[in-house]
Amino acid sequence: MDTFKAVFSYTVREHLRRKAWLSAALFGLVLIVGGLLAASLAQDERARMMLDLGLAAIEAITLLTAVFLTVHLILSEVESRAVYLILSHPVRRRDYLLGRFAGTMFAVIATAAVMGLAHRGLMAAAGWPVDGSYALAWTFAMGQVAVMSALALLLSLTLTSQEAAMVFTAFAWMLGHFTAEMRFLAERAPSPLARALLEGAARAVPDLARLDYRDAIHGPAPGPRWIAAAALYALAYAAACLALSTQVFEQKEF
């Protein structure tokens, strides 16, 4: 546990020193203010548009930053051979991997929290009240980011190429929003093999369309059972990816 904590704090300090969070936050704030301008076109739906564009900008910037950092997290240290130095100390591989991942998630989500506060502040200043559903939408957006980052880490360790890992993560992100369509196609597929493949793919990719509350924020509020199921699903999916990543990393020969 002490090793995990040490790797975690070292990773957070590293991200803060590199100031990747600062450029992400600035870019996010530019998009949020840009959303304010775009919202002026929406007549009496300006508040709605400002809310949607701001949350979408926060999620997109956080996701890009998290996936980029996660994919580089281990591979860059393998390429620079820094990982040899670290693992020559009494550091368990599992603690190293999970500490690095948790530290990165902490830095990225803290940046998203700054963007979220700025967005809420801007909306309040414009006279548009924001209710509790905002916090729920933000939290589940971060849940999706955590799931995708865990998947990106697994892909980066199994594919060994950073570019391939990023491309496959982007594919998974898009497929995760088309799970309903994949099931629709599976039901109508003429061959059992195609049906099984589509159904299997729909189960294997993270079901982001149903994990997402940001896009459904204007509809009826979700019940506590949905909140519990969505939170546990995100945790279980991310934990499965991290457990598999640990397995791959434990058996990796440097």
Binding site: L41, D44, G176, R203, W226, A243, E250
Partner: protein
Amino acid sequence: MARSGAWAAGGCAAAALLLGGALRRLSRDFPPLSQLPDTPFVLQDATLAGGGLRAAAADLAWIEMLQYAAGHGDGFADSGFGYSRLPDLARRVVRLDPAFHSAYTYAAGILAWFHGVDRPDDAAAILEEGMRRDPGHPTYALYIAAIAYKKKGDTDAMVRTLDAACSAPDASVFVRELLANVHSERGEYGRALEIWNAILDDPALADQHPRAELEIGKIRAKMR
């Protein structure tokens, strides 16, 4: 160690599969993208929805519908004249986000009550879709009733029904403005002034205040 790690991974994956099934049962699905109407924006909508930006895609579709209604829609030969593509553009917005209340009422308001448009059946079809996909808004049924009275030529009943609809908290500002104009045309200036003053007093409708002031001035001039 390796075996316990493999068990942990397998357990988490099995839990994710089970919870994914529960999540599917508890979630409200959006309409599938295959139900989007045929417009020049299909690729844009699919790309944004695939990128997880469905609400933002609906917002963009809303702006494009407003531009079309104002006569500036790109890609449509008749933009702003016959409103022939307005039902498709409204369906595009509400199938991207079924909770987009204004899109149902705005399109239905134009199709049912704009001068020279007179497409009450299309307006009623959009409102019926609203009743199905966006429950919890009783005003949809009242607007449909008002359209039915309009088709029967019973203007008094239509105005009474619209008055009832427009006193609801979720009443569309666009339909309230249309109703104020109907009252004004019928010489019911007091009721028209009431509606415009209510719009003027609502800080959330600041965009509509210049228009409300203009219309109030016009009505007061007629009353003199």
